[in-house]
Amino acid sequence: MALMALPVPRWCPHGADSSSSPHPTPSGLSPTLAIHVYTPREVYGTVGSHVTLSCSFWSSEWISEDISITWHFQAEGSRDSISIFHYAKGQPYIDDVGSFKERMEWVGNPRRKDGSIVIHNLDYTDNGTFTCDVKNPPDIVGKSSQVTLYVLEKVPTRYGIVLGSIIGVALLLVALLVALVYLVRFCWLRRQAVLQRRLSAMEKGKLQRSAKDASKRSRQAPVLYAMLDHSRSTKATAEKKTKGAPGEPRKDKK
């Protein structure tokens, strides 16, 4: 697992890092009367893939129609800085004869103060410094900003990603397992309690039913006797009536 030797990242006092978020470069000009251009310090790309060179700017004037954005490229080890992109009068002009022919794409929007370009199909010859220059008439005094592109075989992961992910995953797994075990135990105990209650309820029910049966039997006996008595008395009154006067009005027969 041999990594190519990385150039030591320049340590910027403002804490610039190699992500593609723009970062202000220290400027010696008065902050409100100049145009400020921001690019990241370094950008890493892998061979064959694409990379976005982002460039944003701040201007004290309104964005006019005459705004111009220019990108220059100085190859590593070379002294010449060639112009590869120009945007003027609302029209982007992409390199169609140089080394970035058919590889560059304009993704910026001057209205949104963004002058970014994308380079596809990276190669080792693209190692070098890209300069973004923005002029917004009448605000033309300003410093351009540079971004160094490093094309590597494999982009190194940031320090701490492996560390953090191992610790996070391990702690999460352990927490989940403990929670699961406790949940299972809790459900099991609850089921046990429910079963226990049902069992005791059944026992109580049995006792009650047996008590009820016994009481039912003792109550039925007097009822039977009462019915027998009643039938005898009705028979007696019926006989009396047939024997007695027939013209008597029959009053509430029992």
Partner: protein
Amino acid sequence: MLLLLLGIIVLHVTVLVLLFVSTVVSQWLVNGGQTADLWQNCTSGTGAIFQCLTSSTNEWLQSVQAMMILSVIFSVLSLFLFFCQLFTLTKGGRFYLTGIFQILAGLCVMSGAAIFTVRHTDWHEASENTSYGFAYILAWLAFPLALASGIIYVILRKRE
């Protein structure tokens, strides 16, 4: 009874201290005036001048760091859980949770030390007089002690 409790706590705290020292101190590999460890490489120049640089960002080194940190975390959690379970467990219950976390801490420190042993040549060129420092030995010592402590917790039954 109290003696047993005291002995167990002393063992646990010893394991914790061993893990902590082994993680933090800069003495895993010693090479003459140079010491290298998990976090930085230090060179002692002339006299008592130390020059320290951060170690490489190799993935295996990061995994060793992660394992050592995890072992310390698990051991601390285990101690905390021991005191919790001491007061909440029913009579006759076993300190399962405490023992499991302590055993996990032991396994983590073992895997960390093992990965370091196998892969340290990735980020540190080994010369003839590179030898292992005392922090490395402490890590290997902490592993059986942590396992023993964890097993004692699992076997132990709570009494009044």
